[in-house]
């Protein structure tokens, strides 16, 4: 299981996941706003 506080490598991997999730979230919000 990924633990971002265990090592720098895992923290960096967690950062990449957060970037992807944030990008997807922003994309969904913008798409919903454009459609409504």
């Amino acid at each position: 299981m990924l633990n971002p506080l265990r090592s720098e490598q895992e923290a960096f991997r967690f950062l990449l996941y957060v970037v992807v999730v944030a990008a997807v979230l922003v994309g969904i919000v913008f798409a919903v706003r454009a459609l409504t």
Binding site: P4, L5, R6, S7, E8, Q9, A11, F12, F14, L15, V18, V19, A22, L25, V26, V29
Partner: protein, 206 residues
């Protein structure tokens, strides 16, 4: 056999000087445990600010922004976000350099990370100077400065840790086996970057 063991222990205690050894009850090293507890407390601190932010945003009748005909500089903050995310890549590169005994990668990586962090803070200060509203103007301004300022303070702390790590790297303190002085600030730096991604997404974009 047991009496021999007790005798050996007594003999060891006779030769031990100074304070007694601390009881290590955790499998996690003390340095990592300290940073772990610190970051958990930081998450709670940011959580309190985000609670205030979402409360203000929900109850604000006129919407989030623009306020006083001023909108948030999303594009400039986006460039600043890219700068901060890229600093995490250089931090990771520096750590890989330390692990592989590549001292140049370690030094250049740490120095670049510190410079990128400094650039982020400078751009943030420039943004504050030109944004067009003060912390006391609207309630939105208060929480905007509160959240971004709290994050900026964390970048400053991270820069201080990076400065120590960079100076130590140039003095040749780190090896492939012993580089906790880079790894622990690295975890903190990634945490600061992750918090900024959350702040930028919620405050500027959504």
């Amino acid at each position: 056999m047991e009496s021999a063991s007790i005798a050996a222990d007594v003999g060891h205690d006779d030769h031990h000087h100074g304070p007694p050894m601390p009881n290590v009850s955790s499998r996690v090293e003390a340095q990592f445990l300290g940073m772990l507890l610190f970051i958990i407390s930081e998450v709670m601190l940011f959580g309190a600010f985000f609670t205030a932010y979402f409360f203000i945003r929900v109850v604000a009748d006129s919407g989030w922004f623009p306020v006083n005909d001023v909108d948030l500089p999303k594009a400039i903050a986006g460039v600043n976000t890219a700068i901060l995310i890229s600093s995490s890549f250089t931090m990771h590169w520096a750590l890989e350099g330390a692990r592989n005994e590549n001292r140049n990668a370690l030094r250049v990586g740490l120095l670049t990370t510190a410079l990128l962090g400094l650039t982020f803070l400078t751009m943030k200060g420039n943004e504050y100077a030109r944004i067009g509203f003060a912390p006391h103007d609207p309630t939105q301004g208060t929480i905007f400065y509160g959240l971004t300022g709290l994050h900026g303070a964390h970048v400053f702390v991270g820069l201080t840790l990076l400065t120590f790590a960079t100076v130590r790297a140039f003095r040749g303190h780190f090896t492939a086996k012993e580089h906790r002085g880079v790894e622990v600030p690295g975890i903190y730096w990634h945490f600061v970057d992750i918090m900024w991604i959350v702040v930028y997404t919620t405050v500027y974009l959504i």
